[in-house]
């Protein structure tokens, strides 16, 4: 028997089929590159206009002025940055405990049947558009929750939060000091350890001074306020905190839980002393992502923070204020072209660039923490 040798042509697929493969492959490459183009365009458009602002604005006037009035050429940055921080703080006070508590319950306690009902309910909450929460914050939270907070309630809640913070930071500081005594801290990391304790102390002092200040000037307000908008934003990010922390706890292997139970630990001890520490990176990531989302949230703040007539500086959560995002929305709302003198239009992009850089760095830090969880288990 003698057969013809096999040629390359016979092994190759038909040219038409091959060409189709190539065309499809390259069209898919193009679609993948669209996302890169989008990022480039975002950075380019932000930088281009923001640069005009950065080089054109009188920097001495961006600090200590009456307020943020871009149409009149007044750009006081603390006026929009401080309320952004207050909103984020209030939101995290609401979403942190509620989201984390819900996550621990769902991950460690709830049986599958209960879970199969509760998780979709949280997902429904996650799907509610922010304009709806803006409406809710203004028409319900402002009169029914914020409006009912009295001077005493504020002091009690404020003191409780400060004490909680103090207790946690004292714990961290003690652990660091013990590590230091035992020589477990690398000499190069000593400055970092000292600095982190210093940061904790400074933040505590600032928060205490601020709480006292707000308490002294306390004025109830049942119209839009930073507190009402902050609670609205908090409700918005609860599902985010809950789902990311729950994912982190689900990644903790059951063998750890079994070992803990085998040593005689109760469910609560297992949850707090084994699962939570093991999942801590993911939980930290959840909080960072939530902070990033809260800083970038626009509509709730635009609608419920009482910003329409309050472009003046405020540091009280019970007054109306303007955040970075709300400043952008108010500048652009109602008109189809942003007009004003000088750098009004460019100020929009400058604020946008600040926001972009803040959220980007937070998200990058968060993804570092998430990958730590992945590496560990």
């Amino acid at each position: 028997m003698h057969s013809e040798p096999v040629t390359v042509d016979q092994l190759q697929i038909a040219p038409a089929r091959r060409h189709r493969e190539v065309i499809i492959r390259y069209s898919l490459v193009v679609t993948a590159l669209v996302s890169v183009l989008v990022s480039t365009l975002i950075v380019w458009s932000l930088l281009r206009e923001a640069w005009t602002f950065i080089t054109g604005v009188v920097w001495a006037d961006t600090w200590g002025q009456q307020g943020w009035f871009p149409r009149r050429g007044l750009y006081d940055l603390p006026t929009i940055i401080v309320p952004s921080l207050i909103i984020t703080g209030v939101a995290m006070v609401v979403a942190g405990p509620l989201g984390l508590g819900a996550a621990v319950y769902l991950s460690e306690y709830a049986n599958p049947r209960v879970r199969s009902w509760l998780k979709p309910a949280l997902e429904i909450l996650a799907g509610i558009p922010s304009v709806v929460l803006g409406f809710f914050a203004l028409t319900w939270i402002a009169p029914n929750i914020v409006g009912r907070i009295g001077k005493e309630t504020f002091l009690v809640v404020g003191a409780a939060l400060l004490l909680g913070y103090a207790a946690v930071s004292a714990g961290i500081a003690r652990a660091k000091i013990r590590q230091y005594r035992e020589g477990a801290i690398d000499p190069s990391a000593r400055i970092g350890a000292v600095a982190s304790i210093a940061v904790l102390v400074v933040v505590f002092a600032l928060a205490a001074a601020w709480t006292l200040n707000v308490w002294l000037d306390f004025a109830p307000n049942n119209a839009g306020s930073l507190a009402a908008a902050g609670i609205g934003v908090g409700i918005l990010v609860i599902p985010l905190v809950a789902s990311i922390s729950e994912d982190a706890m689900a990644a903790v292997p059951d063998s750890l839980r079994e070992a803990s139970a085998g040593l005689g630990a109760r469910k609560m001890s297992t949850a707090t002393a084994v699962v939570l520490p093991a999942a801590i990176s993911g939980i930290v990531a959840a909080f960072i992502v939530a902070v990033s989302r809260a800083i970038g949230e626009t509509m709730v703040v635009f609608m419920a923070a009482g910003a329409a007539d309050a472009a003046r500086f405020t540091d009280s959560p019970f007054e109306g204020g303007l955040t970075m995002t709300a400043a952008m929305a108010s500048l652009a709302s109602g008109t189809d072209s942003v007009v004003g003198e000088g750098l009004t239009f460019q100020s929009l992009y400058f604020v946008g660039l600040m926001l972009f850089l803040i959220t980007l760095s937070l998200n990058i830090i968060a993804s570092r923490f998430v990958s730590k969880v992945r590496e560990a288990y």
Binding site: V29, V38, I128, T139, L355
Partner: protein, 320 residues
């Protein structure tokens, strides 16, 4: 004698502590606290839905049809007050998102999961997409403003007619693109390797394998992702404010399917809700109008979200 007594007592105490099932008070309290975290969250959701539903009855209960067909008015008592223009804008924004973001997003996911070599460029594109997903929506509005309204790049403003439903739709398509890519990518990763190997084994090319095996298997996952991103786009307002969605000086009421009005001044349901909520301070009747518009928006958004959740749970169960 004394020592024996103590001994007996301690022995009894030990026996009792072993035999009696003590209540773990702290553990119980902990569980209750955790449960109340969930309950408070769900209660807030319930209060939100009930408040909105009750507020909306003034409009929806008495003049549902007029409300759906009416237009934006400066007084809440106006007989022709309604959300027709908002529905027109939202409907077309959804269509534009589906036409632009879905093919590009799914295509990018196919490339990244099925074709891309594991190299630095691919890793960069993936990190880039994840970062894009975290960019605040209002920043996408700034991009739309620079790109589609002011025509700083490519002169696209001539195509979109400046501030128009087309501009809004394109901006939101860009906004949801990373979500579509990420969710579709997850769906592709869930496809078992055996399916791919089987297809190659019978002589399929890569694209034939993807078309006949990967895409059908991943279809429910992709659909879930697209539904979620559609819901997100329809509910989004901040970027639209930046690209100039307005509530005044709108043109003639366009027919719901009138393509000719796509490059006119526009509005959308979330913008209508925002405007009416803000105006409720001076004209209380707008509270009911805003709540009614919210009900209409929520019907669409929650329908898409629940469909997505149901679809995913069903297929997760099936494939275990």
């Amino acid at each position: 004698m004394v020592s024996r007594l103590v001994d007996d007592r301690s022995r009894a105490a030990i026996a009792a502590s072993i035999e009696r099932r003590r209540v773990d008070t702290r553990g119980l309290l902990f569980k209750v606290v955790l449960q109340s975290c969930l309950l408070v969250t769900l209660a807030l959701l319930a209060v939100l839905l009930v408040t909105v539903a009750l507020d909306s009855t003034d409009q929806l209960g008495t003049r549902l049809w007029d409300f759906l067909q009416g237009t934006l008015r400066s007084r809440s008592s106006d007989e022709s007050l309604g959300i027709h223009q908002g529905m027109y804008g939202s409907l077309w924004i959804a269509v534009i998102v589906a036409v632009l973001a879905f093919p590009i997003g799914i295509g990018a996911a196919v490339y990244l999961e099925e074709y891309a070599p594991r190299n630095r460029l691919t890793a960069f594109i993936e990190v880039n997409i994840r970062n894009l997903a975290g960019v605040p929506s209002v920043v996408y509005g700034l991009l739309g403003l620079a790109l589609l309204l002011n025509g700083q790049i490519f002169g696209l403003d001539r195509l979109t007619g400046g501030s128009s439903a087309l501009s809004g739709g394109i901006t939101l398509a860009i906004l949801v693109l990373p979500i579509v890519i990420i969710t579709s990518g997850e769906a592709f990763r869930a496809v078992p390797m055996e399916l791919r190997e089987g297809a190659y084994g019978v002589g399929a090319t890569r694209w034939e394998m993807i078309r006949t095996q990967v895409l059908p298997y991943a279809a429910p996952g992709i659909l879930t992702g697209t539904l979620l991103s559609m819901a997100r786009a329809v509910g989004e307002a901040a970027p639209l404010i930046l690209v100039g969605a307005v509530t005044g000086r709108l043109g003639e009421n366009p027919g719901l399917f009138d393509i000719g009005a796509l490059d006119d001044r526009f509005t959308a349901l979330p913008i209508v809700i925002t405007s009416w909520t803000v105006q409720s301070g001076r004209d209380d009747g707008f509270t009911a109008a805003a709540a009614a518009a919210i009900v209409v928006l929520l019907v669409f958004v929650l329908m898409m979200n629940s469909a997505a959740i149901l679809l995913r749970n069903r297929f997760e169960k099936k494939r275990g």
